[in-house]
């Protein structure tokens, strides 16, 4: 009984960590611009696909990962420069719609150039499961959890202790005031896109051995990541992680103890409840508009 419960928890935490990484990407861009970037799922997909194709081209895995992440960072830069920046003065909603368009373009480009097949990366440190209290967990899941933790720590340091990071936060609070004290808010938006693209790529690469990847893998991950971000509170780093893990755990426990048929309804029911009871999310800052 306990081993079964433990297995559901492992399953939930693994899936939850991937949702959390996706949610973090949403939060970074939301912080810098108030925009929800619906191409975040595609950044995740691009990371996985880039690493797959670089390894099949003969590159060793670590190098393929590094180049893959940098490449996707470059894509993030291009997306910001070519699609988002020109519409800088438009309404937030317009920019959100632009990101939906970008996601379709990225998906289509990958479909045409790299094909429609599914691909898997080799596991980083073998696929022999580790047994713990009668339940099993893959070493790759530990990679996902470990790297997520490192990323969160890095982001906490970046936003809390570096000048650039503080500048980004300042822009999030009040763009005009940030400009007045000398923050280059245009650079902030650019940086936020590059960062969340690279973050997405890292996530996509980490889960590719477990979940496999294909040109349309980003749709579901992006959606679940968005739900996780809303759950935890858009813009809150801790909230993203928490939202992702809660979502993963709820899904796994529902599949385990209730019925797998209801599993996919869980995230949407959760988000409905949260939006009704606490619209800013569990850890989101309360929005106050001065009248």
């Amino acid at each position: 009984m306990l081993s079964q419960f433990l297995q559901f928890v492992f399953s939930g935490v693994t899936v939850g960590a991937t949702y959390a990484l996706a949610a973090l990407g949403f939060s970074i861009i939301y912080n810098a611009s108030g925009v929800i970037n619906f191409a975040q799922g595609e950044f995740i997909m691009l990371g996985g696909m880039a690493a797959v194709f670089l390894t099949t081209a003969g590159l060793p895995l670590p190098l393929a990962i590094l180049i893959g992440v940098l490449l996707v960072g470059l894509v993030g830069l291009l997306v910001e420069r070519l699609a988002v920046a020109p519409a800088r003065n438009a309404e937030v909603v317009s920019i959100i719609i632009i990101t939906i368009g970008v996601s379709m373009i990225l998906r289509g480009l990958v479909e045409v150039t790299l094909g429609k097949g599914n691909h898997a990366l080799p596991h980083f440190s073998g696929d022999r499961p580790i047994t713990l209290g009668g339940a099993t967990i893959l070493p790759q899941s530990l990679w996902v959890l470990g790297v997520s933790a490192v990323v969160v720590a890095f982001l906490a340091w970046f936003f809390g202790a570096t000048r650039t990071g503080k500048g980004m936060l300042a822009t999030a609070y009040n763009r005009l005031a940030a400009q007045l004290v000398g923050v280059d808010t245009r650079k902030v938006l650019m940086l936020s896109f590059v960062m969340s693209a690279m973050l997405g790529a890292v996530g996509g690469i980490l889960i590719a051995p477990i979940a496999t990847t294909s040109y349309d893998a980003g749709i579901m991950l992006g959606l679940k990541g968005f739900v996780a971000a809303t759950l935890g509170g858009l813009g809150s780093g801790f909230g993203s992680i928490f939202g992702g893990l809660v979502l993963g755990l709820f899904e796994a426990l529902t599949a385990g103890y209730v019925s797998s048929a209801y599993k996919d309804a869980v995230p949407f029911v959760l988000v409905l409840i949260i939006l009704l009871v606490r619209p800013q999310g569990l850890f989101g800052a309360k929005q106050t508009d001065r009248v």
Binding site: Q4, S11, G117, H119, P129, I210, D216, A217, A255, K263
Partner: protein, 380 residues
């Protein structure tokens, strides 16, 4: 008065040009899911039809007429298939329609096809396409019920009596689940677990843990398409579930073995002979047909062959065969000829159609495979 004269003249000219075009080219209409989630089905189907039309034309055409392929991509949206069917019927004036990559698209297209009295070769997998029999619609893909039955027969051989089922929530998985549950009793198989997973799920260990904890289960059947079954297979290995594992014909492609890796070892599944052409016995009538198609497909598309492309091939060739027997492109005559198809050897099996059977395949069309050393190995 003048204007009616004018429009009559225009209509006459139009009719003449249409008639002129028809005398030159016979049109093969297709609505396929070349992009979108069902692209792995629709893409090889599309490429196969292109290849076959070229081959037929290079060999002098059909009844002295060149063929022309008019193919539309419904983007895996069943609702769009409807609009394209209208276009094929009203604007392109095709002689046959091949398609409906999925069961959903097929059923959406059929009412219009029936009204237009057009021979229609569906590539979808659901039983509903041919049960009850619909006058103008024929089917080439194996029924999911046959896959379930083949698995039950194999279980009987191994003395296994109870089955845990895990199916995908997609149309294919849901239909497979329904057929599995409906036919199990006939073979004295108990379904002791009935779990589902989403097509895009990245982890299925929760459902499998439940199955693992079920003492009554003696075997496990996975019913799904694409990458989902590969993830299930990997999770089975991760959890150390010791049950014999069956997959459906939905994973009959190299990709499944590649994605699942070592975890796929020992997995059994029912699939058509095309899965391992080199293992077809020499005397088998399917041997030459399948090997020829595989080689031509490789040469023309430089991609691996799949059972799904094979379905498009069979649909096209059954129609060609019927046109030849009818000696005309006349739609009613061709329809009757398709219904009288007997002993047609295709990549999917030997087809014997009748007024009550618009599929014409029996369970012998499926062979049982086991994955050994990362390769398909035909058992019987």
């Amino acid at each position: 008065m003048k204007s009616t004269m004018k429009s009559a003249a225009v209509a006459a000219v139009l009719a003449m040009t249409v008639a002129g075009a028809q005398a030159q080219n016979a049109k093969v209409g297709a609505v396929l899911s070349v992009t979108g989630p069902a692209a792995f089905l629709g893409d090889p189907e599309h490429k196969t039809l292109q290849m076959l039309v070229e081959q037929t034309n290079a060999a002098g055409g059909l009844l002295g007429r060149k063929l022309e392929l008019v193919s539309y991509d419904d983007g895996s949206e069943a609702a769009k298939a409807n609009g394209f069917t209208k276009r094929l019927l009203e604007d392109d004036k095709v002689d046959v329609i091949i398609g409906g990559t999925t069961t959903g698209a097929t059923m959406g297209m059929y009412p219009m096809v029936e009204k237009a009295e057009m021979p229609f070769m569906s590539l979808g997998g659901g039983v509903v396409i041919v049960e009850p029999v619909k006058k103008w619609m024929f089917k080439v893909a194996h029924n999911d019920r046959m896959a379930a039955e083949k698995v039950f027969l194999d279980m009987q051989k191994r003395g296994l009596k109870s089955l845990a089922l895990i199916s995908e929530t997609s149309g294919f998985g849901a239909s497979g689940r329904k057929e599995t549950l409906a036919t199990a009793a006939k073979y004295n198989i108990d379904i002791v677990a009935d779990e589902t997973y989403g097509a895009k799920d990245t982890d299925v260990t929760a459902q499998l843990t439940k199955i693992k904890g079920n003492d009554k289960a003696q075997a496990l059947l996975v019913f799904g398409l694409g990458q989902g079954p590969a993830i299930v297979t990997k999770n089975i290995a991760q959890l150390g579930v010791k049950l014999p594992v069956y997959q459906s014909h939905g994973v009959a492609s190299e990709e499944y073995i590649k994605l699942s890796g070592a975890a796929a070892e020992g997995v059994r599944l029912p699939a058509a002979a095309i899965l391992a052409p080199e293992q077809i016995k020499d005397g088998d009538p399917q041997k030459k047909i399948v090997v020829d198609y595989v080689n031509a497909h490789k040469a023309a598309t430089r991609s691996e062959v799949s059972t799904f492309g094979g379905h498009a091939r069979d649909a096209f060739m059954i129609w060609v065969d019927a046109v030849k027997r009818a000696g005309a492109f006349d739609k009613a005559k061709v329809r009757d000829a398709i219904e009288q198809t007997k002993g047609f050897v295709g990549t999917g099996g030997v087809v014997n159609m009748s007024a009550t059977d618009h599929l014409g395949l029996d369970i012998s069309a499926f062979k049982m495979y086991e994955i050994k050393n990362g390769k398909w190995s035909v058992l019987y």
